[in-house]
Subunit: 115 residues, 2 copies
């Protein structure tokens, strides 16, 4: 999903947030600054290449900031911007919505197993 088709901001928002990792990364940054390696530990399944790529995408969109801490070894800190923090309740709401959806599905189809 590289290109925009509808010009609708909803499509743009989804273009930014689609994919497996971006919302999860935002989620893991809720409690404050984290370093690259810490984010890898948070979700061990992500490859470093993808992590780099996804973080850069979020950075260039203005959702997070990337700060290189000068000194001894290279240290990089990632942190939500104000806009990033505003996103948090929205993705939480999506998670809640999904859980509610699942509950409905289970309640609506009891005849599948019961007689």
């Amino acid at each position: 999903m590289k290109t925009t088709i509808s010009g609708c901001p909803i499509e743009d928002a989804m273009r930014l947030l689609s994919g497996r990792w971006r919302t999860l990364l935002v989620y893991y940054l809720i409690d404050g600054k984290k370093r690259f390696a810490q984010l890898r530990r948070d979700n061990p399944k992500i490859s470093h290449r993808i992590l780099t790529h996804e973080l850069r995408a979020l950075e260039s969109a203005g959702v997070i900031t990337r700060t290189v801490i000068p000194g001894k070894i290279a240290h990089v800190e990632y942190e939500l911007t104000e806009a990033g923090h505003k996103l948090v309740p929205l993705i939480n709401a999506l998670g809640d919505w999904y859980e509610d959806l699942q509950r409905r599905r289970q309640a609506e189809a009891p005849q599948l197993t019961a007689s």
Copy 2:
């Protein structure tokens, strides 16, 4: 994004809604039932195959219903479920958030063009 990794409902919600079309289709169903061909007219860039596929995915997730209208020619109506309607304000909020993000970006970087 076929598989789940984190088990987090946020990831599940994104797995359901990721991609170019799904949120747009929900959006176009806000004002009520629509038929297949009507949805194609709403967004002419979607291919019929993908439209079918995306609608089926939303249906099997419980976001929309698919109703075949019996009679003469094949007629199919798609409509948001109650859960689908609950999703609407969330994706609208995402659109608003994105617009706000864009405004910030423009306000934050005036030095790029000004002296």
